[in-house]
């Protein structure tokens, strides 16, 4: 499939090579065919078609491919071409059947020779077709990768109102093409790797040379190469292997389904890692604020984008802190509440048999169960869960006096707030931290929350993503990068790429020419 990659395969499969010496092809077609079948283990989906050419009656050749993972149309066209060619007389004297096939008869763009049985076998497993020629030490590998795959659809997890509706698919080639279609720069580098002893999953590392920092790119390559695992089924596998710190609730690598988000990151000097078989691509290095930004922020006006970003940040804190604040205030600091609110709260909680902490835990766990049920259940019985959740658990629990109405409000608001955060993995972090803070609030009140936040702050300050400080434009402070954090200034004001992420080479720093601020008076003059 990929020429470069196959070369890389052999390097990667170094261990295998040590165990048994690489089998080279021999001139005898029968023997080659038998060895190839033995390598692939046989199977009904392996197709073999032997042909004879009119000009070389003594030499046969065989077309091999695995049905289902090849592009049927390409195989058909190629076979048609081969048959036509087989029945026609070779016009000029060609020295061998191999050269003739290689140069004159295959109607597919990408072909290349191979000399070892393994090489041929692995190429077939990736969807290539192979022609073995009698009397030749080389086989022809033809790139016919294809087969059924999902078409480009709208991303499901990261939707926008304004902006492109394309999403990545499970097909790596489609995904790299989606990026190439947006960034048509010769500086765009796509490096391929293979990870996984059994799955031999293709991985693409994409970056802009000269804009991404060389040491970051090198580090990404190094960490991916160090992975030793039998299977990679999703980019989450890679993420856990290459992140800087194992024990942290915060995501250290961003993921996205959106080609525009991936491209924006590449243009800011980040490195994108694509894994075959999943629409979620990884973006690294990443900072804390990136998880609160949506690609839409850059497509709509800057004022509303800034407002929405602030709303998201507030939501993050609400989803992390609200239940614990409620517990702390109702348990320890009742004096902070205005009298009328205090009385109303006290009246609600009068019949509730549990302390606020237990009450909050009950409701939070209930909600987490509801949410998980919502994700796992079959789509058809969806409405049932909302009826049970809303009516039975919400209203009835309050009426039965198990929980107070205020607690239901707090938990619902917390839940809604947690859905505002654009990155699901950051929302999960808030979800987990919430429970720890609730226990702290139940034991130490606001002091406990403050201590918890201090621990979080120290932890966040110590985190790094591929060597870059996680809280980047804030700590260490880089004033010029603050333009695109919780606020977004107009495009014409963001003249430079973010410092720290991209390469420091001066010519690449400028994103926008000077004086691009719209000013009709000057244009008229």
């Amino acid at each position: 499939m990929f020429k470069k990659q196959t070369a890389g395969n052999d390097k990667q499969a170094g261990d295998d090579q040590k165990q048994h010496v690489e089998q080279l092809l021999v001139p005898d077609l029968e023997q080659n065919m038998e060895r190839l079948e033995r390598f692939l283990g046989g199977g009904a989906d392996i197709v073999c078609r032997t042909l004879t050419h009119r000009s070389f009656p003594n030499q046969r050749y065989a077309l091999f491919y695995i049905d289902g993972i090849v592009d049927g149309t390409a195989i058909g066209t190629m076979l048609l071409g081969l048959l036509e060619d087989a029945n026609s007389q070779a016009t000029e004297e060609t020295d061998s059947l191999y050269t003739h096939l290689m140069e004159r008869s295959i109607a597919v763009g990408k072909i290349f020779p191979a000399t070892a049985v393994e090489e041929v076998g692995y190429a077939m497993l990736e969807g290539s077709s192979v022609i073995l020629v009698d009397g030749s030490l080389r086989a022809i590998i033809i790139d016919t990768t294809g087969g059924e795959s999902r078409s480009v659809e709208e991303p499901t997890s990261q939707t926008v109102v304004r902006g492109p509706k394309e999403g990545f698919t499970e097909n790596l080639r489609t995904n790299t093409a989606l990026v190439r279609r947006i960034i048509k720069s010769p500086k765009l580098r796509v490096d391929y790797k293979i990870v996984g002893r059994e799955t031999r999953t293709n991985i693409a590392v994409i970056y802009l040379q000269g804009i991404a920092q060389d040491d970051v790119v090198k580090e990404v390559h190094r960490r991916i190469e160090q992975i030793e695992i039998d299977a990679i089924l999703e980019s989450g596998y890679i993420e856990e292997f290459i992140q800087d710190k194992a024990f942290t609730p915060f995501p250290l690598i961003q993921n996205t389904e959106r080609p525009d988000t991936a491209c924006a990151s590449i243009l800011e000097g980040q490195v994108v890692i694509m894994v075959s078989g999943t629409p979620f691509v990884l973006i690294t290095p990443v900072t804390f604020v990136k998880f609160f930004q949506s690609s839409e922020d850059y497509y709509q006006r800057y004022d509303i984008s800034t407002f929405l970003r602030l709303i998201r940040m507030t939501s993050f804190f609400i989803s992390m802190l609200l239940p614990s604040l409620y517990i702390a205030i109702t348990t320890f600091h009742q004096e902070m509440l205005p009298t009328s609110l205090l009385i109303s709260l006290a009246a609600q909680r009068e019949g509730v048999p549990f302390p606020a902490l237990v009450e909050a835990f009950l409701m939070e766990i209930t909600f987490e169960i509801l949410r998980e049920a919502g994700v796992r259940m079959p789509r058809i019985i969806g409405p049932a869960i909302s009826i049970v959740g809303a009516l039975v658990l919400g209203q009835a629990a309050v009426q039965a006096g198990l929980v107070s109405a205020a607690m239901v409000i707090v938990v619902s608001f917390t839940a809604i707030a947690s859905f505002v955060i654009p990155a699901v993995n950051m929302g999960i972090a808030a979800r987990l931290i919430r429970f720890v803070l609730m226990i702290l609030a139940g034991s130490f009140g606001l002091f406990g929350i403050m201590s918890g936040l201090m621990v979080l702050l120290a932890h966040l300050c110590g985190l790094r993503s591929f060597g870059k400080p996680y809280l980047l434009p804030f700590s260490p402070l880089i004033v010029s990068n603050l333009k695109d954090t919780f606020i977004r200034v107009p495009w014409w004001a963001m003249r430079k790429r973010p410092i720290g992420m991209s390469s420091h080479q001066v010519p690449n720093q400028n994103r926008i020419g000077g004086g691009k601020r719209p000013d009709p008076d000057q244009e008229g003059a």
């Binding site: 320890f332 902070m336 002091f447 702050l457 932890h459 110590g462 804030f474």
Partner: protein
């Protein structure tokens, strides 16, 4: 990789090292001595603080880039290095325990009167140790973020108290007499002298040459905070009332009432102040661990940190059996204690550096 602290972060560490505990005791102490002239005492202290900062920074600048204890050992020999390291290690350890106890007492006084103080102390030491386990860089970064929070909170507090501020309460000037004003300045000078932490921090700075700038800005920033709080305390309550208050800083915010729904908001100020307190605790624990690790050339900082933290919890609980003793210690005994280690010891070091300067350059010439 050697951790690197930017100049801004150094300033933040200095400010967060000096102010948290100073803010608790300064208004009561200075106003107790100098009544409505307390702000003059704070101004005098600010001048003295800057002089101390310059002295300390000047000493730091002669450090060719070693860690503090290593530098002392290289310069004056193993014995002197060990003595200095041990003295400072013990000083920072004791101060750390004192700060933890102060904070714990405060929290117990204000809100959690039924929680066993052991729990509070354990949580505090735990948080400080956790921060340090992430390295001095993480502490420095959190210090900078906490400083921004403080910078946001101060104008809000002043703004909310605007109605209650009556600057006429500062009049008449020089009412207390020079001797009382001078006396009142001693305590703030003591706290401002804690800037000697720069001796330990400077080798970690990204740009060690800017230590002078960081020292002066940090010391001025801290003094400015003390000044704002003192002036506000006098102008809001008048000097007579403040003397009777344990925590005038929080009482000021406590009286704020906006409309009928925003009241008793001192808990927010307390929270932000608590964050600065945590930074202070982390810095002192770090200094203590740092000194002891390098004095005894211990291999594992993590293990030292763990054992010192455990020891600190025990020390904090048993040293001051009654809260009154701590109060006395903070107001009276802390002055010789602070000045001994923050002024006299650095001065001795500076003096010795001056005396041995000739020798050292000769040695340097020979070795090179």
């Amino acid at each position: 990789m050697k951790p690197e602290i930017s100049t801004l972060q150094t300033v933040a560490i200095v400010i967060n090292t000096i102010t948290p505990t100073a803010l608790l005791s300064i208004p009561s102490v200075t106003i107790g001595f100098a009544a409505n002239d307390a702000w003059i005492s704070v101004l005098i202290a600010a001048v003295a603080g800057v002089i101390i900062a310059i002295t300390i920074a000047a000493i730091c600048k002669t450090n060719p880039g070693f860690l503090f204890i290593e530098w002392m050992e290289n310069r004056f020999g193993r014995i002197v290095g060990m003595v200095v390291g041990l003295l400072l290690g013990v000083y920072y350890f004791n101060s750390f325990c004192m700060i933890v106890r102060q904070f714990a007492n405060f929290i117990a006084d204000m809100v959690l009167d039924e929680t066993p103080i052991v729990m509070l102390i354990a949580v505090m030491v735990g948080v400080a140790a956790f921060s340090i386990a992430h390295g001095i860089e993480a502490v420095a970064r959190s210090a900078a973020l906490v400083m921004f929070m403080v910078i946001l909170v101060i104008p809000v507090s002043v703004g909310l108290n605007f109605d209650d501020i009556n600057l006429k309460k500062l009049l008449p000037f020089f009412d207390a007499g020079t001797s009382r004003i001078g006396l009142a300045a001693i305590s703030p000078i003591g706290w401002l002298s804690e800037i000697s932490i720069l001796l330990i921090l400077q080798p970690y700075m990204k740009n060690p040459k800017s230590v002078m700038k960081a020292g002066i800005i940090g010391s001025l920033g801290s003094a400015a905070q003390l000044l704002i709080v003192t002036v506000m305390a006098v102008s809001v309550f008048g000097s007579e009332v403040v003397r009777m208050m344990s925590y005038p800083l929080f009482n000021m915010v406590g009286i704020v009432e906006v409309g009928k729904f925003l009241e008793r908001i001192e808990i927010y100020t307390v929270s932000v102040w608590g964050m600065t307190m945590y930074v202070k605790m982390s810095v002192f624990l770090f200094a203590s661990v740092h000194c002891i690790t390098y004095t005894f050339r211990l291999k594992s900082i993590r293990h030292t940190l763990f054992s010192i933290s455990l020891l600190a919890i025990v020390t904090t609980i048993v040293t001051w059996t009654r809260n009154l003793e701590l109060g006395r210690f903070v107001i009276v005994d802390s002055i010789p204690f602070l000045s001994m280690f923050n002024i006299i010891l650095p001065l001795c070091i500076g003096f010795c550096l001056l005396v041995t300067r000739g020798n050292n350059s000769k040695k340097g010439a020979q070795s090179s």
